[in-house]
C-alpha cells in the first residue's frame, strides 16, 4: 500500500491556504489559529473528534460562517467568502453530508439545478444531458440512466450525483463532508474511487471523515483538529492508525495504541526488513 502512495503524481501548487483562522461563538472558541494548505491534485483529510471544529472549518471555507480572524488565500489571492454561492463562484465546491438533492427531479435536473443551460428562453435539455454523461464518465460513475428521478437511486449513486454536481462549475477545490457515512461496503469503495478520480483530474480535495480506513485509503495528507486547534499533521504513509487516534483523542493510552504496540513488538523484525527493502 505504501508503494502505491509513493507512485502517486506529485501534488501541484497550493490552491487554498488557511492561516490563523479563528472563529468564536459567544464564549466558545470553536476555531483558534487553524492553518491548512490544499494543493492541486491532492487529497487532504480533515479528521477530528466530535466538536473538534471540522464542521465549523468547512462552513468557514464554504462561506456559511465568516471567520473572526485569519486569512484565506485562494489561487494566490487573499479572499473573503461571503456565502455558499460566492464560494462556488470562486471555485470552492462543497458536498454537504445531507447531499441536498431533489428526489422528484431526474439526475440531469439535479446536476444543473440553479445553473441550468439555456437555449433561447428554454432549458437546453439535450446539451445538459450530454454534459451530464461527460461529467459522469470522467468520474467513471455507474448511473444507469440520467433520466430517472433521484428517488430511484441507491445511496452511493446519490453521493455520486452530488459529487458530480459539485463539478459542474469547474471548481478547483472540492470539499466532501462525510461522503461515506451512510454507505455500505461496495458503495463506499465506489465513492473512494470517485475521490481518487477527482485527484487525478487535478482538483484539490478536502475530505472530512470519521473513518480512518477511508482516510488512509485515499488521503495524501491528514490534518487533525482537536478542540479547535491544529493537533497534528501527517503524510499518510507516515501515520499509523494508532498515531492518528492518539492525535485525535489527545491521549496515547488508548486501546488502539496499546494493541498496536503489542503487535509491533512481536513483528518488529519483519517491519524492519520491509522498510529496508523500500529504502534500497
Amino acid at each position: 500500500m505504501s508503494t502505491s502512495v509513493a507512485d502517486r503524481a506529485p501534488a501541484g501548487e497550493v490552491v487554498l491556504s488557511l492561516a490563523g483562522v479563528s472563529k468564536r461563538f459567544g464564549a466558545v472558541q470553536a476555531l483558534s489559529d487553524v492553518h491548512m494548505d490544499v494543493r492541486a491534485g491532492e487529497v487532504v483529510a480533515l479528521v477530528g473528534d466530535n466538536g473538534a471544529g471540522k464542521s465549523t472549518l468547512v462552513k468557514v471555507i464554504s462561506g456559511v460562517y465568516e471567520p473572526d480572524g485569519g486569512d484565506i488565500t485562494f489561487a494566490g489571492r487573499k479572499v473573503t467568502v461571503g456565502g455558499p454561492s460566492e464560494a462556488q463562484a470562486l471555485g470552492i465546491a462543497t458536498v454537504f453530508q445531507d447531499l441536498a438533492l431533489c428526489d422528484n427531479l431526474d439526475v440531469v435536473a439535479n446536476l444543473f439545478l440553479g445553473q441550468e443551460q439555456l437555449a433561447g428562453p428554454f432549458i437546453d435539455e439535450v446539451g445538459m444531458e450530454k454534459e451530464a454523461w461527460r461529467l459522469l464518465k470522467t468520474l467513471s460513475a455507474k448511473i444507469p440512466s440520467v433520466r430517472i428521478p433521484i428517488a430511484a437511486l441507491s445511496g452511493g449513486q446519490r453521493q455520486t450525483v452530488a459529487i458530480a454536481r459539485s463539478l459542474v462549475g469547474s471548481p478547483q477545490v472540492v470539499m466532501l463532508d462525510e461522503p461515506t457515512a451512510a454507505l455500505g461496503v461496495a458503495q463506499t469503495a465506489e465513492v473512494l474511487n470517485l475521490i481518487e478520480r477527482l485527484r487525478e483530474t487535478g482538483l484539490g480535495v478536502i475530505l472530512i471523515s470519521h473513518n480512518m480506513a477511508d482516510v488512509q485509503a485515499v488521503a495524501d495528507r491528514i490534518v487533525v483538529l482537536r478542540l479547535g486547534k491544529n493537533a497534528a499533521e501527517f503524510r499518510v504513509e507516515d501515520a499509523s492508525t494508532a498515531e492518528l487516534v492518539a492525535a485525535i483523542t489527545g491521549a496515547s493510552d488508548n486501546v488502539v495504541a496499546s494493541r498496536a504496540s503489542r503487535r509491533s513488538a512481536s513483528t518488529q523484525t519483519e517491519t524492519h526488513i520491509e522498510s529496508g527493502e523500500q529504502d534500497g
Binding site: L113, K142, A151
Partner: protein, 417 residues
C-alpha cells in the same frame, strides 16, 4: 482514457449501461408504459379511466349527456374554474395551498363590474382593474409567506373570508350588477364559437407543430449522440392526436363548435405546461416543491419562486373570476362563493397534481375540471338534487386523493419517490 468516447459508436451515450432495459419499437414502448404503471407512476391514467366510467354511466342513464350540445356546454362552463385550477396547480407544486381563490375571483369580478358600470370606465380599464386586484392579493400573500412566515393555509383561509367580505362591500347595497350583453367580456365568453373551417385549421396546425417539435427534438438528440424516440412512434402519436382531435372537433361542430373561452383555456394550459417543463422558472418551481433546502443551497432564489407563484395563482383566479362573470352576464353577491374554491382545488388534485408538492402538471387542471363539470352536468341532466352533487363531488375528491396516496406508496416501494 477517461475522456474517450464510447467505443461502440452505434450505442447512444445514454443507452450504454448494460443494466438499462432496452426498448425497441412500439411494443417496447408499450412495455415501458406498463412497467411505469406498475411502479405507481400513474400519470393521468386514473382520471381518464374515471372520465370513461363517468361518461358511460351518465350516457346509459341519459343519452343526451354525450350529445354535441352537452359537450359544448361542459367545456364552456368548465373553462373559468379551470383557469382558477391552473393557478392552484402552481401553488400545489410548491406544496402550499390557496383556499381563497374563489373569493379572490368574486372580488376581482366585482371590482371589474363596479369600475365598468358605476365608474363608467371602458371594458379594458375595468378588466385591468380586476386583474390588478389579483396581482395585488398574490403579492400580499407572498409577503405574508416569505417575510412573516405565515402558513399558506392560514392566510388563504383569512383571505377566503376577507375577500368575500370585500366582494359584498364593493357591490354595496345595490347587490347584483348585470353586464351589458353587447360588452366584449360577455360576447367572448358566451357567444363566440370557432367556425368549422377555422377549427379544422387549428387541429391541423396543432398536429403539425407537434410533429415538427418532436422531429426537431429527435434531430437534436441524434446530433448530440443520445438515443432518440423512433420516427414511427412520433408518427403513431401524431396520427392518434390527429384522429382524436379531429373526431372531437367534428362532433362538437355538429352543435355550435368549440367556444372561444375553452380554446383560450386550452392555450393557457399548453403554455403553462411549456413554461413548467421547459423554462428555468418552471424547473425551480418543481425543485422548491421537491426539496426547498436543496433548492436554496443550489442558489435558487426561493423567495422569488414563492412570490411569482402566489402572484400567478391569484392573478389566474382573478382572470377566471372575470370570465365566470362574463359567462353568467352578471356579478352578484354569490359570485365566486359557493363551491368555486373547493371545485378549483379538487380539480387540480383529481387531475393528478400531488398535494405533497413537486409532482403534477398543468394538464391536471384541464382533466380535473372536465371530470367535475361532467359530473355536474350529468347529475343536472338526470335531474338529481344538488345535495347529491356535493356528495358525489366529495366522494370523487376523496377517491382522487386516495389514489394519489396509494400511488405515492407504490412509487416509494419501487424506488420512484
Amino acid at each position: 482514457m477517461v475522456d474517450q468516447e464510447a467505443p461502440a459508436s452505434t450505442v447512444a451515450a445514454d443507452l450504454a449501461d448494460e443494466r438499462l432495459l432496452a426498448t425497441h419499437g412500439i411494443g417496447g414502448y408499450g412495455h415501458l408504459m406498463w412497467n411505469r404503471l406498475r411502479s405507481g407512476e400513474l400519470g393521468s391514467l386514473p382520471v381518464i379511466v374515471g372520465l370513461a366510467i363517468i361518461s358511460i354511466g351518465f350516457y346509459t342513464a341519459e343519452p343526451r349527456f354525450l350529445s354535441s350540445r352537452s359537450l359544448v356546454s361542459i367545456t364552456q362552463f368548465a373553462a373559468p374554474v379551470g383557469i382558477i385550477a391552473l393557478g392552484i396547480v402552481l401553488v400545489l407544486l410548491l406544496g402550499e395551498i390557496d383556499l381563497s381563490v374563489g373569493s379572490v375571483s368574486g372580488f376581482a369580478s366585482a371590482v371589474m363590474a363596479v369600475t365598468l358600470l358605476d365608474q363608467g370606465q371602458s371594458m379594458v380599464v375595468a378588466m385591468l382593474a380586476g386583474i390588478l386586484v389579483g396581482v395585488a392579493i398574490g403579492a400580499l400573500y407572498a409577503v405574508l409567506y416569505t417575510k412573516l412566515g405565515v402558513p399558506s393555509f392560514v392566510f388563504s383561509l383569512a383571505g377566503l373570508l376577507g375577500f368575500q367580505g370585500a366582494l359584498l362591500y364593493v357591490l354595496g347595497a345595490n347587490g347584483t350588477r348585470n353586464l351589458p350583453s353587447d360588452s366584449f367580456l360577455v360576447d367572448f365568453t358566451r357567444f363566440q364559437f370557432v367556425t368549422p373551417t377555422m377549427s379544422y385549421v387549428l387541429v391541423g396546425a396543432t398536429v403539425v407543430v407537434f410533429v415538427l417539435a418532436q422531429l426537431w427534438g429527435i434531430r437534436q438528440r441524434t446530433a448530440a449522440g443520445l438515443s432518440a424516440p423512433s420516427v414511427t412512434l412520433v408518427g403513431v402519436k401524431a396520427a392518434l392526436l390527429l384522429v382524436s382531435l379531429g373526431l372531437l372537433t367534428w362532433y362538437v361542430n355538429i352543435d355550435r363548435g368549440w367556444t372561444y373561452i375553452w380554446v383560450f383555456f386550452v392555450v393557457l394550459v399548453v403554455l403553462m405546461d411549456l413554461v413548467l417543463r421547459r423554462t428555468r422558472w418552471g424547473r425551480h418551481v418543481y425543485a422548491v416543491g421537491g426539496n426547498e433546502e436543496a433548492a436554496r443551497r443550489s442558489g435558487i432564489k426561493v423567495d422569488r419562486v414563492y412570490f411569482s407563484v402566489f402572484v400567478a395563482c391569484s392573478t389566474l383566479a382573478a382572470l377566471g373570476g372575470l370570465l365566470a362573470a362574463g359567462l353568467q352576464t352578471s356579478v352578484s353577491q354569490a359570485s365566486g362563493t359557493n363551491d368555486t374554491n373547493l371545485t378549483a382545488i379538487a380539480a387540480a388534485v383529481i387531475g393528478g397534481t400531488s398535494l405533497f408538492g413537486g409532482r403534477g402538471s398543468a394538464y391536471s387542471a384541464m382533466l380535473g375540471i372536465i371530470v367535475l363539470q361532467a359530473i355536474q352536468t350529468g347529475l343536472n341532466l338526470i335531474g338529481v338534487d344538488s345535495s347529491v352533487r356535493f356528495m358525489v363531488t366529495g366522494g370523487v375528491l376523496l377517491l382522487a386523493v386516495a389514489i394519489d396516496s396509494v400511488s405515492r406508496r407504490a412509487r416509494s416501494s419501487s424506488g420512484r419517490g
